[in-house]
């Protein structure tokens, strides 16, 4: 069986897939790649099933060594390697991924997928629960991960393929990110000035930013009346406002319930942008309706289906 060796893990590298369903009632996060779309696209590019486990790389630089010949593809940020384009790596080859100029995370798929054991139906690392992935922890220098057998042979000669993913899927980081949101359950309970400030001003991403979420700093968001709420479900993309009136943007590893008021939710198609936020970035919000969010989602799904069919025609 093939393997990939992590020679340099960088600040935070984990094994992820499309996450865990069916365990929220036990307090277990959905988790998985913070940009599920990028994970699906990267897997498709190397001929894998979309749900195969891959590497989530935070910032960098990182270095990997491949035990045998594989096809790889990376989506998310420009790390100097194969942006959204399949690349063949040789037995024993070492690959260096540099830190991206903008953005935070990339997803690197390897043909055959990473075949760490399934835990509660997924190979994703749950850092808080300390399970899944590689012993439930972030990868360290020297870790070796087993790779599966490639199921589809992509037909391309030479080192890199002639096709690639659309640029907006391969490189999702933006120097001026604008996240589209729908109103949260407690939107109406915020003061008029707070609601307009939320949509008009920029928020700074603080240093407290990880796979659970990012604390933001900017215009204070006061409610009309400060009332205690009964904890309810929160999801990746939920923007809750803590007692100091500053927003917290929740990401894939967020808790299952929360008691802070939810002012808004980032729409599904903009979660890839949210996953690229890093400390000191400025982010702005733009309101859309739930119907618009849904239409945007289905438009992207239709594009993904066309992309999938296109790739199938190239595989032998």
């Amino acid at each position: 069986m093939g393997k990939v060796t992590i020679l340099r893990a960088g600040p935070l590298m984990t094994v992820q897939d499309l996450g865990r369903a069916h365990h929220r009632h036990e307090g277990i996060a959905g988790g998985g790649a913070l940009d599920l779309h990028a994970a699906r696209v990267a897997n498709l590019l190397v001929g894998n099933a979309e749900a195969c486990a891959l590497l989530e790389i935070t910032l960098g630089p990182t270095r990997l060594r491949f035990g045998d010949e594989r096809v790889i593809a990376s989506c998310g940020v420009d790390n100097g390697v194969s942006l959204g384009k399949p690349l063949r790596v040789q037995t024993g080859e070492e690959l260096e991924l540099r830190a991206p100029p903008i953005g935070c995370r990339s997803w690197l798929a390897i043909s055959g997928g990473i075949v760490v054991p399934l835990v509660l139906g997924s190979r994703a690392t749950d850092l808080r629960g300390r399970f899944g992935g590689c012993a439930g922890r972030a990868l360290r220098d020297g870790d070796e991960l087993p790779l599966g057998r490639a199921t589809t042979q992509l037909a391309f000669a030479g080192r890199s393929a002639s096709w690639s993913a659309p640029n907006e899927w391969a490189q999702t980081a933006s120097p001026h990110p604008i996240l589209r949101i729908v109103r949260g359950s407690e939107w109406e309970t915020f003061a008029d000035e707070a609601r307009s400030a939320f949509l008009k001003s920029a928020y700074l991403v603080s240093k407290q930013a990880d796979r659970m979420g990012a604390r933001l700093a900017g215009a204070g968001l006061a409610r009309k009346k400060e009332t205690e709420l009964i904890s309810e479900a929160v999801v990746p993309g939920t923007i809750q406002v803590s007692n100091n009136r500053q927003p917290i943007l929740l990401l894939g590893d967020c808790q299952t319930i929360g008691g802070y008021p939810r002012i808004a939710h980032v729409i599904t198609v903009d979660l890839p942008l949210a996953a690229q936020l890093r400390p000191n970035d400025h982010v702005q919000f733009e309101a859309v309706t739930v119907e618009e969010a849904r239409a945007l989602y289905w438009a992207r799904e239709a594009d993904l289906e066309r992309f999938r069919v296109g790739l199938q025609l190239r595989s032998s």
Binding site: G30, L120, S185, R262
Partner: protein, 216 residues
């Protein structure tokens, strides 16, 4: 009401019976496109595979909730779990805080905490964390001003008017009064969480030596 574009929250009021009945009805209805259903304190959340038109989906949910279920399916008998807890100071670093706040002796706190039959109102926040209701009012103690950076697994805490158990080593703001040797969360087990919403719980006190034996 919608929770972003791919989830919906059904509010039912602050009653465990209603929450459980709603969750069971929605599970039994096997609504198409619903990936999972998770109860909270006064609501049930439904997570969808893909965004659906909200009004249509709300209509489907209402129809599912109007349907009658056989009583046997609705009123599943709740389990009673007896949970051993060591209330020695090394297991309960915040005992002194609770002693001061509640004006009770450590022994009284232990006896008082072991008396009621608690109900698991919700499992959430972190993996396997059970929120238990029916904490005697005499024991209610506000959360710590600054949370501890790491609370050991099995720590039993009081947070305001609730009590709960930290299943995994994690940061925590509740006052820790003891520790159980039981494994509340184990990802290699199905279900991974020992306690599920609706379970009944009773604590009983054990000493250091018994704690060590239980750990094995």
């Amino acid at each position: 009401m919608p929770l972003g574009d791919t989830a919906v929250v059904v509010r039912v009021g602050d009653s465990l019976g209603k929450v459980l009945a709603t969750a069971r009805k929605l599970e039994a209805a096997r609504l198409p496109g619903v990936v999972e259903i998770a109860p909270a304190f006064a609501s049930v959340a439904l997570f969808l595979e893909t965004p659906q038109p909200f009004d249509d989906f709300a209509h489907t949910i209402r129809a599912a909730l109007r349907r009658r279920l056989p009583a046997a399916k609705l009123d599943r008998p709740s389990r009673l779990l007896e949970v051993p807890v060591c209330y020695e100071p090394e297991c309960g670093p915040d005992l002194a805080t609770v002693v001061q706040h509640c004006r009770l002796s450590p022994n009284e706190i232990m006896r008082c905490h072991c008396r009621p039959e608690y109900r698991v109102r919700c499992v959430g926040f972190s993996p396997g964390f059970p929120y238990l209701s029916k904490l005697p009012r005499a024991l209610a103690t506000p959360r710590r001003a600054s949370p501890r950076t790491e609370v050991p697994a099995g720590s039993v805490g009081i947070g305001g008017a609730q009590t709960g158990i930290y299943p995994l080593p994690s940061p925590g703001g509740w006052n820790i009064i003891g520790r159980t040797p039981l494994r509340l969360f184990d990802a290699s087990r199905e279900p991974a969480a020992l306690l599920q919403t609706g379970d009944r719980v009773r604590f009983f006190a054990i000493d250091r030596a018994e704690f060590k034996r239980w750990e094995k």
